[in-house]
């Protein structure tokens, strides 16, 4: 009754579209030649090369560190903000808060990148600090709406009555939050954190403009290679990361399922 003829076919096309490039990427990571386009036989040499290339390794680790920190911060502040702006009657300034939180979604990246370059450079000069903090802050900021949306959605769907019940059963507001709200909110928080993590991992434009010495991430490293030659080394790294994520996500998925 729910079937609409043709829809499954179009869905299949979508999935092919989504996976064809990924499959190509994975296949070429096993290329023996130096090209990401010319197949010269099967080999693990690019995995070895990536494994040996310190700059790539550092960039990978840095990407993960930035993404992890930024998504953690973004998730934390978004959770708080979602708690403050959801399931509450409109209050003075609530629209402004909402607009500000979603602002990074609306402003094209390049604009933010230039603005951040100028402002952060001023701060860097005046404070003398030029660590990863700027990258993490910038990433955390543009991750906020991505973390906020699923958390808010979860909160909106969450029955207020659980918290009321907890208060009724002598739980102080903090206890209510720790014991009831947070556990119930956790699927939304996990979704938000994951989304933020991916978004951070993906960013190149803002990172390129904000990074200081020794702060290449995987994407900016690759951007630097664009002008010369991109080797299957990056495919190898991506394949490895992809494998790790798929394993982790599958584990999460299976665990989540069993718990229900």
């Amino acid at each position: 009754m729910r079937r609409i003829p043709g829809f499954a076919g179009i869905a299949a096309v979508s999935f092919v579209l989504l996976y064809a490039p990924i499959v190509t990427l994975v296949v070429y990571s096993f290329n023996a030649g130096d090209s990401i386009a010319l197949w010269e036989g099967l080999s693990l040499r690019w995995f070895a090369a990536a494994w040996a290339n310190e700059q790539v390794q550092e960039a990978t680790v840095r990407s993960l560190v930035v993404a992890a920190s930024a998504s953690a911060i973004a998730t934390a502040v978004s959770t708080m903000a979602a708690l403050g702006t959801t399931r509450t009657a409109p209050f003075p300034g609530s629209m402004a808060i909402y607009a500000l939180i979603n602002q990074p979604l609306m402003v094209p990246e390049i604009v933010t990148a230039v603005a951040l370059l100028i402002v952060f450079a001023m701060i860097k000069i005046s404070t003398g600090y030029s660590g990863l903090g700027y990258l993490i802050a910038a990433h955390a900021a543009f991750c906020v709406p991505f973390a906020y949306l699923p958390i808010r959605a979860r909160l909106e769907g969450m029955d207020l009555s659980y918290e009321v019940a907890a208060a009724d059963l002598y739980a102080t507001p903090w206890q209510t939050f720790r014991r009831i709200t947070l556990p119930l909110l956790s699927p939304g928080i996990v979704a938000g954190a994951m989304l933020a993590f991916v978004i951070s991992l993906d960013d190149v434009v803002i990172t390129e403009f904000v990074k200081s010495a020794g702060q290449d991430t995987l994407p900016t490293y690759m951007l630097g290679q664009l002008r010369r030659a991109v080797t299957p080394e990056v495919n190898a790294i991506s394949t490895a990361l992809l494998a790790v994520t798929v394993v982790l996500l599958s584990a999460f998925f299976v665990l989540n399922r069993q718990r229900r």
Partner: protein, 321 residues
């Protein structure tokens, strides 16, 4: 001991060279990449970046100097300066080498896949007036100075000319040629090897690497005039590790070390005696060792006046849109 922060083009620095430097001086070197002179300039100018060394192209060096971004480290007084090929000492962008040390140099010419067009590759007409076989198959690397330099020489002008008639011709010809181009992109090592692009304005080192994969590809030195360029190593004024940076400048003027640079990115380096340490295939490659008969057409791009620069930029922006 200490640290050194190098800000260089992506995939341009030989890790072996760095390792050797680190081991020799017990310095921790960090490489950070950029992908264009303008990005590098912008970030350095904004400040607070933490870089010690930058590797701008020749035409950007005077800008860095004028903006007061470079430290006058006097490489000409360094121990290894004696190794620098005299040809690269009194260069227009840094007369007497008060600021910079040669990194690599090369030429910008034409790369052509002869399987599709068997005409003469040694002309800028390949991209300024593409023969019918190449229409829609030519790439032009989006490097302003190189392309406009080639175009000026193609219409008979001198690089850095402010002659509006010449420049108008340059613009009009470029604008007329653009629709016949396939793209304005980098990454020709890859794309010409696998046949995605059949001809391109390209750098010699890249073309050399293409030829190793695809012997059909030849490098052309445009007879109307082609561009000779050099990227040089400079120390930034706000560098925190000035001494290490100077050590590095000196270090890469050693022929053995200079050869390491070339072995990785496949361009010549401007240090006498480095040839003997270079890979065999580079020593005779017509892309790297400019054949005698083409030498005359090569022109070094001087640093132009502000007026000329503004005009170039205007033409370039118009072309890119």
């Amino acid at each position: 001991e200490g640290e050194l922060n190098i800000y260089n083009w992506g995939n341009y620095t030989n890790p072996e060279l760095i390792k050797k430097f680190e081991e020799t001086y017990k310095v921790k070197v960090t490489i950070t990449d950029y992908d264009s002179n303008s990005t590098a300039l912008t970030k350095v100018k904004a400040g607070g970046h933490g870089f010690d060394i930058v590797v701008p192209s020749a035409n950007y060096v005077p800008i860095f100097v004028q903006e007061g971004l470079l430290l006058e480290t006097r490489p000409d007084k360094m121990e290894n300066f004696k190794n620098v090929d005299p040809q690269w000492v009194d260069v227009p962008w840094d007369p007497g080498r008060h600021y910079t040390v040669p990194w690599q140099w090369g030429t910008t010419g034409i790369a052509l896949n002869t399987s599709i067009y068997s005409g003469d590759p040694n002309t800028s007409a390949i991209f300024m007036d593409p023969p019918p076989e190449l229409v829609g198959k030519v790439n032009v690397v989006p490097e302003m100075n190189d392309v406009i330099g080639l175009a000026i020489m193609y219409v008979g002008g001198e690089p850095c000319t402010e002659d509006k008639n010449v420049l108008r011709q340059v613009r009009d010809k470029l604008m007329a040629a653009k629709p016949k181009w396939q793209s304005m992109d980098y990454g020709m090592t890859e794309k010409m090897s696998n046949g995605d692009v059949m001809a391109s304005v390209n750098w010699n080192g890249s073309t050399f690497r293409v030829r190793l994969k695809n012997p059909k590809v030849v490098y052309g030195y445009p007879k109307e005039g082609y561009v000779v360029w050099m990227d040089s190593v400079a120390v930034l004024k706000d560098a925190k590790n000035v001494e290490n940076a100077k050590l590095f400048q000196n270090f890469i003027m050693d022929p053995e070390n200079a050869a390491l640079i070339s072995a990785f990115a496949r361009y010549a380096n401007g240090v006498k005696g480095s040839e003997q340490y270079m890979p065999e295939d580079m020593k005779t490659a017509p892309e790297i060792v400019v054949p005698e008969k083409y030498k005359a057409a090569g022109k070094f791009l001087p640093t132009c006046s502000k007026a000329a620069r503004d005009l170039y930029t205007a033409i370039w922006t118009e072309l890119r849109k």
